[in-house]
């Protein structure tokens, strides 16, 4: 490549730099990995990526975790230093206590890792043991790309890419859904467990 071409290419940089400040605000509503479904929020919408649980079991997101089920989902990471994840986990454990043996039978709880490269199944297992999480609640990890895809499709994003980049920004919301009914809603993870239970019961179709 000659010097002229190199200079021409260098000329691209200022263009990129000048559009960046404007662009950072633009259209982060539609994340590049978001899609629109024409067949409802079922198998076409949820990617059937292979994830691993804290027990090392391989599971497919749609077929094994979501299809036909009522679910409660949050995102966390084991090395969460700002204090949110431990508090959320404790709060969700209170909900788990209220749900009793319905967890893993009628409703399914899933915590997805925001740091899948660090959160190996072994690490997830240690986290579960350390907190005393009860059975039936699965903690999930996988490849970085696959976990990212899950995060985006499940809506745990921020329209500002600077904010979206930070793991901690997605840890305070829980998503509740009834996949067959396409009924989905969100709530703060720090909500009173009794209220989360009412919301989950409505979504699961147990209560009116």
């Amino acid at each position: 490549m000659d010097r002229r071409q190199l200079l021409m290419l260098m000329g691209l940089a200022p263009v990129a730099a000048s559009v960046a400040p404007v662009a950072s605000y633009l259209n982060k509503q539609a994340h590049p990995r978001k899609i629109r479904t024409t067949t409802g929020f079922h198998g076409d919408y949820f990617p059937n990526v292979v994830l691993r649980t804290q027990d090392g079991k391989r599971v497919r997101l749609y077929d094994d975790l979501l299809k036909g089920k009522s679910v409660l989902i949050n995102f966390f990471y084991a090395d969460c230093r700002d204090g949110i994840c431990p508090v959320t986990t404790e709060n969700l454990m209170r909900l788990q206590t209220l749900l009793g043996d319905r967890v893993g039978r009628d409703v399914f709880m899933y915590s997805f890792s925001l740091a899948p490269e660090q959160d190996t199944p072994e690490r997830l297992k240690r986290y579960v043991k350390m907190h005393g999480v009860g059975p039936g609640w699965q903690f999930l990890t996988g490849s970085r790309d696959d976990m990212e895809l899950c995060r985006v499709r499940l809506g745990f994003t921020d329209p500002d890419p600077e904010v979206d980049r930070k793991k901690g920004q997605h840890t305070a919301v829980v998503l509740m859904g009834n996949e067959p009914r396409q009924c989905w809603m969100a709530s703060p993870a720090a909500s009173r467990p009794g209220f989360l239970l009412e919301q989950l019961n409505r979504v699961a179709g147990v209560a009116s």
């Binding site: 490549m1 071409q5 021409m8 290419l9 691209l12 940089a13 263009v15 990129a16 730099a17 559009v19 960046a20 404007v22 662009a23 605000y25 633009l26 259209n27 982060k28 509503q29 539609a30 590049p32 990995r33 978001k34 899609i35 629109r36 479904t37 024409t38 409802g40 929020f41 499709r153 499940l154 809506g155 994003t157 921020d158 329209p159 500002d160 904010v163 901690g168 920004q169 997605h170 840890t171 305070a172 919301v173 067959p180 009914r181 396409q182 009924c183 989905w184 809603m185 969100a186 709530s187 703060p188 993870a189 720090a190 909500s191 009173r192 009794g194 209220f195 409505r202 179709g205 009116s208």
Partner: protein
């Protein structure tokens, strides 16, 4: 005119073309840091249309603009109810969702009441002739819902019948357990459409609207209340806990207009005190709703978007980009933005002046001549547009000049009308009978009720915040069992509402009485915000102090963000008027 995003994509395309023309090898590109290890152009905005979002922004199918005529909304006539309404809830007959009507004995008189039955049911609704019918849930099966004309001094009972699909059969967005809120009626809690007062499919509920002004228990004002608290343009919509945005998007919205002896609805009114604003065919409600449509042409609700939903199709009274033939005379347009999340700043394409006569549905002290009117979600504002001197055949567009690309709020940039988005086309038509245009726009409407700070018995602050993706008010998430404020009936309070949520903007709505803005960030509010309001726009880091009274009724009411997507997870608090 190209939008910023289109320009970015074009820049990206040109940059990529330059690279191709330079005939660089892959090694060269990698050395220059322009390729990822997988061989794709890095997602720098100048190089990748993908990063700019162009490939990923789903667009609704194309629809031809300006071919649908703006629907005129017929006034719903009262009808007799099969089962007579009663003060207590008639559970045995299938009514639910309320306690006994307050002030029933005072206001219910079978010889002076309008009763309405609204059949809330699924409807196949056509937004545009080039699109298939959409699966909506609509009051009386129509969108917008029925238009109710009410009059102060004549109570109304609206019986909402829930004929939506059962919980066991419904699949898709929305929850068929509505609770209908009249925004912003002076209504007792049990008829206010509280988020917790949902009714099940197959049941019904009477909402009792005495159509009385605030202050009717104050001996200074008599049983009709303070005339200065008269309201004009209200709307009713669903308010179901956690599913409000979804249900409103399904079609749960209608107009409710209140008249009195001044704003009488008759431009020929012989009463010398009547305002004689444009009436009849020339009093036109305009419901703005921006919507997205999927590849199948039906309304698309992204269930996994917690930011707020911005539609790329603008509808007015239920039609995409309609036209309206207007006579050469004055019109009263009652603008209402139902969102769900978009902020509107409406200008006319020819730059002509309009007169804003109301804000949040309440007539201002006097008309304000302006070139534009702003509408957050849930805002109403009436404007007078005078086409008298516009040549017949002229086409004038109503243009949204507020730049916005996501649910956080507008960017703050006002686009020139040439770059804004055209919503509605007016075509001036001299063949339409003006009926002599007897209408007037008085210089003065109502005095504002006095703000008597001596009445203030409590001052409260509500900080709306967002942390780690979740909403909180005063540091706490929403809890329906918690009452965050207990104002005493008959008193006034000063509330400071603070937006601490960084890059997010929120229209905060307080149910029950209209409030007055004392200050916005320490200074007096602009003239159009200085009247009686019920939706407070909060930009980044803004702080608004308001004065509000809590008269005549008791019970719980919410305060919440009216970007309804935020409301649903759950930017809200419950407060209660106590004796």
């Amino acid at each position: 005119m190209a939008t910023s995003k289109e320009k970015l994509c074009e820049t990206a395309r040109l940059n990529r073309q330059e690279i191709i023309n330079a005939k660089l090898s892959r090694r060269d590109l990698m050395k220059l840091g322009l390729l990822t290890s997988s061989g794709f152009l890095i997602a720098k905005y100048g190089l990748s249309a993908r990063a700019a979002g162009a490939d990923s922004t789903p667009k609704s199918p194309y629809t031809t603009p300006w071919i649908e005529e703006l629907p005129m909304l017929p006034v719903k006539q009262p009808s007799l109810l099969d089962v007579a309404p009663t003060g207590p809830v008639q559970s045995a007959l299938g009514e639910m969702g309320r306690v006994t009507h307050q002030k029933w004995a005072q206001f219910y008189d079978p010889s002076n009441v309008d009763t309405y039955l609204i059949d809330n049911k699924p409807a196949a609704y056509t937004w545009h002739r080039e699109l298939p019918p959409d699966d909506c849930w609509a009051f009386d099966g129509r969108f917008p819902g029925p238009r109710i004309h009410a009059r102060y001094g004549r109570p109304a009972i609206v019986r909402f019948q829930n004929n939506l699909p059962s919980l066991a059969t419904h699949s898709g967005y929305g929850r068929p357990t509505p609770t209908t809120h009249l925004h912003n009626g002076h209504t007792a809690s049990e008829s206010d459409g509280n988020p917790l007062d949902m009714i099940n499919p197959g049941t019904w509920k009477d909402h009792f609207y005495p159509n009385v002004r605030a202050g009717f228990t104050d001996p200074n004002y008599g049983p009709g209340g303070d005339v200065r608290e008269s309201m004009g343009t209200l709307w009713f919509h669903d308010h179901c806990l956690d599913f409000t945005a979804q249900n409103v998007y399904r079609g749960q919205a209608g107009f409710y207009l209140l008249f009195n002896e001044f704003d009488s609805g008759d431009e020929n009114d012989s009463n010398p005190n009547a305002f004689r604003l444009p009436s009849g065919d020339f009093d036109v409600p305009l419901m703005f709703h921006d919507r997205s449509f999927g590849p199948d042409g039906k309304g698309y609700y992204d269930l996994f978007n917690l930011d707020g939903l911005i539609g790329d199709k603008y509808t007015v009274n239920g039609k995409i980009n309609p036209f309206m033939r207007v006579a050469k005379r004055k019109y009263r347009f009652r603008n209402l933005n139902i969102g769900p999340s978009r902020f509107l700043d409406l200008y006319l394409s020819n730059g002509m002046n309009i007169q804003q006569i109301s804000e949040d549905g309440n007539l201002l002290p006097g008309p304000i001549t302006t070139t534009h009117v702003k509408l957050t979600p849930a805002n109403r504002s009436d404007v007078i547009i005078d086409f008298t001197n516009i040549p017949s055949g002229t086409e004038i567009f109503l243009v949204n000049c507020a730049e916005q690309s996501d649910g956080r709020g507008p960017t703050g940039k006002t686009l020139p009308t040439s770059q804004g988005t055209k919503i509605l086309k007016f075509i001036v038509d001299a063949t339409i009978d003006t009926k002599g245009d007897p209408s007037r726009v008085p210089a003065k409407f109502y005095d504002l009720p006095p703000i008597n700070t001596n009445e203030v018995v409590a001052k409260r602050t509500f900080v709306f915040d967002r942390s780690n993706g979740a909403w909180s008010v005063n540091g706490k998430p929403f809890d329906p069992a918690v009452i965050s404020a207990n104002p005493r009936q008959g008193t006034a309070e000063e509330w400071t509402i603070v937006n601490n949520s960084g890059g997010w903007m929120h229209p905060v709505h307080i149910h029950f009485e209209e409030h007055r803005i004392l200050s916005r960030n320490g200074v007096a509010p602009p003239s159009y915000e200085a009247g009686r309001k019920d939706v407070i726009w909060l930009d980044h880091n803004e702080k608004v102090k308001i004065f509000m009274r809590f008269r005549d009724f008791l019970g719980r009411y919410p305060m919440h963000c009216h970007n309804v997507v935020h409301e649903d997870h759950a930017m809200m608090v419950m407060w209660e008027i106590v004796p």
